[in-house]
Amino acid sequence: MTDETGATVGAGELVVLYGWPSSDILSAMQVEESVKLLPVAKAYTRTDGSFDLRVEDPAVVEPIASSTDQVDFEISSDQAEASYVYHFDRTLSQTSTGSFVLTGTTNSGSGYDTGGGGGHTLPVEPTPTPLRAGTTSSQTQTDEGATAEPATETVHVKLAPMSTGKTRDTESTGASAVADFKNKACYSKKLVTYSPTWVTVGQSFVNTTNVISDFQYSHGATSSLGIAVSASGKAGSYSSGGTNSITSSATIDFPQQGSNTAKRFESSFVYAKFQSYCHTVQRGNYNFKYTIKPIAFAGGSRVVNQPFPSANYCRPHASGTKFTKETSSSITWSNGVTLGSTVGVQLSSQTGYTGKARAFFDFRSSRQLCGSHGYPADTPRFLVAKG
């Protein structure tokens, strides 16, 4: 955890891991309704600013898991001069012995930014493991999947203060939250439900003729969408604060793309603005924070132009061949959420090619299929059909 100058904070700062109610609940809430945030772990920073959060009993988050067993988390730390927030999610599952574990929810792999700014990557942990959180020097999440019991999944997050940390709501300053921790409860109130916003979920590049490309985003496909956070809620004060995954409730078969086309495929999702705050009898409401996060899939489809990427990991495919990419490392579009222009910060979107999101290439003539960062059957990131 670092302060606004980039220096690590000292020892003794309280960090709390909250569980948010699922998107099922959040999307059903009316404006001005509040829900309680569930504290599931806490820790204090060490002298180097690092900390470890561990969910000792993942079963405690079962009541807030979504219908798809997703649990949304927020790492939060409120200090006199700054607030820190980071959102991510995990999947809750039950082992054969009946114990609960929290695992990654989307495909592993490196994110790819199409337009600058930082995107987050969400990893998958093939072996169900308990959740643990810590810090690194990188503002991305990565896994260190252990193979032996007791296995631990580590989420690395660099926590920097929200951009307006020194202009907090006046109610939020004052005594340290540490002393009130035992008695406080934290809530989140829905302030605004935005109209559905377009989000990039896929793409297609055919830089030649006689190749047909197709992309299917099926029911159950998951996109990891960026979240904006602010200490004041004022326009221009938002910064990127992690991601949450939203699952498609419909199947979209985007239009086939033919010769010399470079397209982004978009569908729409619903975002909402929440005001989070904590409460004690002694202090009333304090520690206000604002979060703009995705809460539902809205559907629809839109196809937009984009430039061709460079792709040099090439393999010839003979006429009559069909290549299908079902699973791969996910791609992050740093500006993949069009709501970003409204909140003043680019929000990322990420979709992996899973069994629920698939890319197809039909070679009507002999052509090459090239990956931008690896061969097509490996981790290509961008797949481009070329002459």
Partner: protein, 181 residues
């Protein structure tokens, strides 16, 4: 091009000997070896090579992620069903040349493909250094009177001198006498 014109029985004889050896009590190969063979789940549907272009061949790229050289022993098909393995090859790759075979013909007219074929060698005893990649290639066929043949992947048997390994690629193969579209 003599390499690609080896008679079919040569490969089948080698394969029969290998299978016999395996059944004779050799230690099963380790599945989690140092070769990376792709990621995710991919499907490749293709049709036989046109008349005059030899056989259909499919390729994948494998990379030695270990810190010691490995020696390839054999390339094969995993769980083949009416898909016949006719011959196998490896084509060394360099960092400067990222072109590799996907679905091609053994006697394709394309000059870039021909140039790549010119670098092909027999898989057996091919040594893959740490960090190096190689294009593994299998020439395959199906009987003209059946609809399709399948295999769940290409696979590579190799050794680091201490242990024997078996790595499978991540692409399922379907060869059809019909259409893939």
């Amino acid at each position: 091009m003599t390499l690609r014109q080896r008679p079919r029985y040569t490969y089948r004889l080698v394969f029969a000997i290998a299978v016999t050896s395996a059944l004779a009590g050799c230690t099963p190969p380790i599945l989690d070896g140092p070769l990376s063979t792709g990621s995710g789940s991919n499907e490749l549907c293709f049709i036989p090579a046109p008349e005059g272009e030899g056989m259909r061949a499919v390729g994948e790229v494998v990379r030695n992620e270990g810190d010691a050289p490995v020696t390839i022993q054999q390339i094969g098909l995993t769980d083949p069903n009416d898909l016949v393995l006719e011959d196998t090859y490896v084509v060394p790759l360099t960092e400067d040349d990222r072109f590799s075979f996907g679905v091609i013909s053994t006697e394709a007219e394309d000059q870039q493909i021909q140039a790549h074929w010119a670098k092909a060698v027999e898989p057996k005893d091919f040594v893959l250094e740490p960090g190096a990649s190689v294009n593994i290639v299998a020439a395959v066929s199906i009987n003209p009177d059946i609809t399709e043949g399948t295999a769940s992947s290409l696979e590579v048997r190799y050794t680091d001198g201490r242990s024997d390994f078996l790595s499978k690629t991540t692409t399922t193969l379907l060869m059809t006498n019909g259409s893939c579209f």
